[in-house]
């Protein structure tokens, strides 16, 4: 997909930028699955990531488990609790990324999580280790731009800092976020927690189009995307869709690697197909 397979592997922002450039060129909507690292099967974590890519993922969001995930709903909180009970922390997550990178130098990986595990690890140390492991971006849910000083070492290490926008974000603030964005913007489609089901497509479309008009980076939409149909609707106007709780719920309880990867493929493949179909019909409509 990119030159980097042959020559120098891209890192950090560059790998994300390259992936979105390729998507744009192909006229496709990006598909970003979110999984909670270490759930349900730590030993199959890397196999699961490869399976997601094989089924059509363009970028992987890897959730770093945290005991008090205020912005997440019950599905992801429970996945985090299970991972924590197995002793999964940042060291394990970074080791998996390193392992994943041995076979895949092009699929960007974004770590998504909360500040406390990063600060306790040491933010500068985390940034160095994450970049070295092959992480490309970091989304810190509880670190808004006002507290950016806390995240400065991430950018120094060449990592993209993925920022959130929300329906409640006022215009002046949106301009600041659009200005500061690197990698891509993650638009939270509605005011709520992950995994809830309240979404008005017209509102989201209007909002996303307003954001796209103001920023250089692509806009991914998450929260409330749960299956092929909802992904296709959002994919009609977003640069990428993030699908999290529905996938995490589907994977929960898988007892072995084969079942786990099969479930991942069964879930992702129809979403991929629906996104591509919607993009194809959009191109046809534009050509007609």
């Amino acid at each position: 997909m990119s030159d980097s397979q042959a020559g120098q592997p891209e890192t950090g922002c560059k790998r994300i930028d390259a992936r979105f450039a390729a998507l744009r060129e192909a006229g496709r909507t990006g598909l970003i699955p979110f999984i909670t690292a270490g759930d349900p099967l730590p030993e199959a974590q890397v196999a699961l990531m490869h399976a997601l890519v094989a089924a059509g993922a363009d970028l992987i969001e890897l959730g770093v488990p945290f005991s008090d995930p205020m912005a997440d709903g019950p599905v992801i909180q429970q996945a985090s609790e299970r991972a924590i009970a197995r002793g999964i922390g940042l060291d394990e997550v970074l080791a998996w990324v390193r392992d994943f990178r041995r076979q895949d130098a092009v699929t960007p990986i974004v770590l998504m999580g909360y500040l406390n595990p990063v600060e306790i690890h040491g933010t500068a140390r985390f940034a160095r280790e994450a970049a070295a492991a092959g992480v490309d971006g970091v989304l810190l849910v509880d670190c808004p731009i006002e507290e950016s000083a806390s995240a400065a070492p991430l950018r120094d290490a060449g990592l993209a800092r993925i920022l959130l926008t929300a329906p409640t974000t006022p215009d002046a603030r949106l301009a600041r976020i659009c200005e500061a964005a690197t990698g891509f913007l993650y638009h939270v489609s509605f005011a709520g927690i992950t995994g809830a089901d309240r979404i008005s497509h017209d509102d989201v479309r209007a909002r996303v189009e307003a954001i796209k008009a103001r920023t250089r980076v692509p806009v991914a939409v998450g929260f409330g995307v749960r299956d092929a149909a909802s992904a296709a609707k959002i994919g009609a106007f977003a640069d990428a869709v993030v699908i999290g709780s529905a996938l995490v719920g589907q994977l929960a309880g898988a007892g072995d690697e084969m079942t786990l990867c099969q479930r991942a493929r069964d879930f992702i493949a129809p979403v991929r197909a629906a996104l591509d179909e919607a993009c194809a019909s959009k191109r046809d409509a534009m050509n007609a």
């Binding site: 909360y114 500040l115 306790i120 509880d142 808004p144 006002e146 920022l163 959130l164 409640t168």
Partner: protein
């Protein structure tokens, strides 16, 4: 940290107490918090708002609460004179009502009709349900399933007052999880809902706002000391969970350099046992529930489960202003064990005829320790933040009785 000249200058406009505090929340909450900050900044200097708050404190809460000289207790301890600031005599039996009245008035001014709250022991939940009944507001209280089990009477009190109590079954099923759940409700229903946080934690402006509403405790106490004793106390002490009653007492004294300030944290079964809730004495700086402060967590940054005989102190974080006071050296924070608190509970009951809340019993235990080391003419002021009726079942159970 350099020497601080004026402690009343904190927090800054973004809620920072030195390196602590701030607003570490998901994007969805940034605008609602900004709206709340703007409303509160307007109201806190509005003479009508202040007058209504003070009227409610006088006629509904029953303020001022007295300072009581615990003479028999002081004699038994054999040192300094122990003075009790009687917040237990407030309506609903604790300092918590100072804050819930203030925030309910803010909610009303902002046109919010639905109130949510988190509660641990149930005292803040009861105080919230109480003001909601009085102001005619809908009230939903999130409470950990474990806490519901150990505080059944307060659950029923909230229901009698018309509140809906929602059990929280995630995580450790205690106060911190109730706070997470309330925050999620707020994120989802932010248009019509006001979140009344019960302690001086959470994102800006909560640590400041809750402090301001509770600061009446210290303002009153300072004036009462001057009127009754002609001088300030030598040392003041209060229990610290999230730290709202403590900051309430401490704040008016922060610039009185001659007054020593000591916070009593829950040392549970002892700091060495790992089963405690002493975030300042045994934790480290981190980020929890929207603010940077001292937290109890493991090396992966996971918040650890806490233990205290008193549900109200059973919290793995602490208000950011306390973190700031600790680092600046202005206040000292020490651990008081379950056993010491229980002993103080019994001692106060027998010597003064006062059943203190188990939370407040930690402060009483600390006051006794401080008094023992000071001369007879020294004055130790202790915040008796709540009454102990709610705890009689817990105490009976520990002594092998079933009521």
């Amino acid at each position: 940290m350099g020497k601080i000249g004026d402690f009343s200058a904190f927090p800054d406009a973004h809620g920072h107490f030195g390196p602590y505090g701030g607003s570490f929340v998901a994007e969805t909450l940034v605008a609602p918090l900004a709206e709340l900050t703007a409303a509160y900044d307007r109201l806190r200097v509005d003479p009508d708002f202040i007058a209504e708050f003070e009227r409610d404190l006088a006629h509904y809460v029953g303020r001022p609460s007295p300072i009581y000289h615990a003479e028999r207790l002081s004699r038994e301890v054999g040192g300094a004179q122990i003075l009790l600031k009687r917040e237990d005599l407030n309506h609903t039996g604790a300092h918590k009502i100072n804050n819930t009245i203030g925030q309910a008035l803010v909610a009303r001014a902002m046109g919010k009709r639905r109130i949510i709250a988190e509660t641990g022991a149930g005292q803040h939940g009861v105080a919230t349900a109480t003001v909601c009944a009085r102001f005619g507001l809908d009230c939903v209280v999130y409470m950990g399933a474990v806490d519901i089990e150990r505080q059944k009477i307060n659950v029923y009190r909230m229901q009698l007052l018309g509140a809906e109590v929602v059990p929280v079954t995630s995580g450790s099923k205690t106060l911190k999880d109730a706070l997470n759940e309330a925050m999620r409700d707020w994120v989802t229903n932010v248009a019509d809902t006001f979140y009344i946080i019960g302690t001086v934690a959470g994102p800006h402006p909560y640590p400041r706002m809750v402090r301001d509403f509770n600061a009446v405790v210290g303002r009153e106490a300072r004036a009462q000391m001057l009127a009754q004793y002609g001088r300030l106390p030598d040392v003041i002490t209060a229990c610290v969970g999230g730290g709202s009653n403590a900051i309430g007492l401490f704040h008016a004294f922060l610039n009185d350099a001659e007054v020593r300030i000591v916070g009593a944290e829950a040392a549970g079964e002892g700091l060495a046992s790992g089963r405690h809730a002493a975030s300042l004495a045994a934790g480290r700086p981190g980020v929890l529930h929207g603010n940077r402060t001292y937290v109890l967590c493991d090396d992966d940054g996971q918040i650890t489960e806490t233990h205290s005989v008193s549900a109200g102190l059973d919290y793995p974080g602490v208000g950011p202003e306390h973190a700031f006071l600790k680092d600046s050296g202005r206040a000292r924070y020490v651990g008081v064990t379950d056993e010491e608190a229980l002993a103080a509970f019994h001692r106060l009951a027998r010597s003064e005829g006062i059943l203190a809340a188990l939370e407040s019993s930690h402060a009483v235990a600390q006051a006794m320790k401080l008094a023992a080391e000071l001369p007879r003419d020294a004055l130790v002021l202790c915040n008796l933040s709540g009454r102990g009726d709610k705890d009689v079942h817990t105490i009976a159970a520990r002594e092998g009785l079933s009521l």
